[in-house]
Symmetry: C2
Subunit: 146 residues, 2 copies
């Protein structure tokens, strides 16, 4: 978290941005969670303790975090863009439970390698990718079989 704040501050400085209490609060709340927040969700969470903060401010901050490389935008097809803190650790993809909405992160280096081979076959240069598996998580399966 310290590191992400440092990265953001460096980026903000480079862009000539000013530092404000609102943005600091949004950043802290965002980094201090393991959730995959939509703008709406983060806005509501922050609003509980800071009723004066505006939706647009949260929205702008999240877009800014993505620009500065400390957040990734996710789209799980429910019409809401989500944001995830992008820590220094390795890339991961997602299992998305369509029943309860829970998200499991996974990594599979072999898949990444195969992706590269596929791209190479077509002379295609991959910049980024999206790999999401939608279905029912173990917990929901257990509940359903009761």
């Amino acid at each position: 978290m310290r590191e992400e704040i440092a990265i953001f501050n460096e980026c903000a400085k480079r862009k000539g941005l000013k530092s404000t209490s609102q943005r600091a609060l949004i950043l802290k709340t965002f980094l201090g969670s393991t959730s995959h927040y939509s703008t709406e969700e983060l806005y509501l969470k922050i609003r509980k303790n800071n009723p004066k903060i505006g939706y647009a401010t949260v929205h702008r901050a999240l877009k800014l975090f993505a620009e500065c490389g400390i957040a990734t935008e996710l789209d799980f097809g429910d019409g809401q863009t989500r944001f995830e803190p992008l820590r220094g650790d390795q890339h991961h993809d997602h299992l998305v439970c369509t029943s309860c909405g829970s998200i499991i992160e996974f990594t599979e280096p072999k898949i990444e390698e195969l992706q590269e081979l596929v791209a190479a076959k077509y002379g295609f240069k991959i910049n980024r990718h999206r790999h999401e598996l939608y279905g029912i998580c173990a917990n929901c399966t257990a509940i359903a079989s009761n």
Copy 2:
């Protein structure tokens, strides 16, 4: 194409839908292309020869095709839902060129297998997935290096 029309007709019958010339035209145009149409694009294409057809009709038809299992909804993150004819053949994923917008379909059974292994590890049941590789296609790379 014949087969998809049959599948659709069966589905329409099951749903108690009536058959109309508009829907037949939309279906024919949709199946007779290899494109990945957005509603807008298909609407404009059809409109050239049939200026009376409405946007909403095209939209409703595409959603219906997806429901009946002869089309897949795609989202390449450009804010437009695209539709692809889902033929009897095997599942495929996509390489999306962010420079020219071209789309290459690929299949890699080994990735599919690995996906299943990942899911199994978490007791997760996959219903569907999305795997897209974004980058620059061979053609655009060639153009850029001129």
